[in-house]
Amino acid sequence: MATFDPCSWCEEVLQPYLDRHLSEREQAEAQTHLDKCGYCAKRYRFEENLRQVVRQAAVEEMAPDLKQKLASLRTPLF
């Protein structure tokens, strides 16, 4: 029988944990592990930062003339 490896389990639930999609019990179990495991805690913090960094890097604002073009697609009132 395979032995239970808490860090592997913690890695498995990283995404649902951060998305708050674990059951309360699983969330608490993950938290207990994170409180005492620096290895996993570091990687969880990295993932949180990464999401922020990806979000910021991915933002590209639209050109002002596109906005005008979109507005010109409106149905004329008369």
Partner: protein, 194 residues
């Protein structure tokens, strides 16, 4: 009985008012819609074309929008459908199994490549904006759609499922796998091939 010209005129006025309101609300959301659109396609030009097609269609079919419901999701649904129609269906989805690594993979690779690293802040500094944008565009589209809608567009799983017209479970699996593929791509761009 025919309606009096007066009633008809009033109806037209009401309809015009509703339409103008719809158009204004839709235009107010354009910045947010564009941020998602821009990352669903490769180039700025494609994003701009897609936005114009989307808004043209939205303005034509404004009557099918139910006021009070999520307009941003409604527009994004038009946009993702148009994007898929633009020839994406013809593309074969590559085998993605080899593109995916476990969730700690990127951190481990970056840490290995950053000998002076003491904390995750230093490790993340290795990722440049170009690395991230490049890695995101290399994620196969079905997975990227889910990642972009949830992580950049801030849509819930439920909304994303409605926009993409797939079950919520499919959204979750594409999202989780998409993020893993993204991290694998990032590891490759930031610290080189495996």
């Amino acid at each position: 009985m025919a309606e009096s010209p007066d009633t008809e005129g009033r109806q037209l006025a009401v309809e015009a008012r509703d339409r103008v309101r719809f158009e204004e609300e839709a235009l107010e959301l354009a910045d947010q819609v564009y941020r998602v659109a821009r990352r669903l396609v490769r180039t700025k030009e494609e994003a701009e074309d897609l936005m114009q097609e989307t808004y043209a269609r939205a303005f034509r079919s404004w009557r099918s929008y139910t006021p009070g419901t999520n307009l941003r999701a409604w527009i994004l649904r038009i946009l993702t459908n148009l994007n898929i129609d633009r020839g994406r269906r013809a593309q074969r989805q590559p085998d993605t199994a080899h593109l995916e690594e476990s969730d700690y993979f990127l951190y481990n690779r970056l840490e290995d490549a950053t000998p002076e690293a003491v904390d995750e802040e230093r490790v993340i500094e290795r990722l440049s904006q170009d690395d991230i944008v490049g890695a995101l565009s290399a994620v196969p589209h079905d997975f990227r759609d889910a990642v972009v809608l949830v992580d950049i567009g801030d849509f819930s799983y439920q909304e994303t499922a409605q926009i993409l017209d797939v079950p919520v479970g499919t959204v979750m699996s594409r999202l989780h796998r998409g993020r893993r593929i993204l991290k694998r791509q990032l590891a490759e761009t930031a610290v080189g091939g495996t």
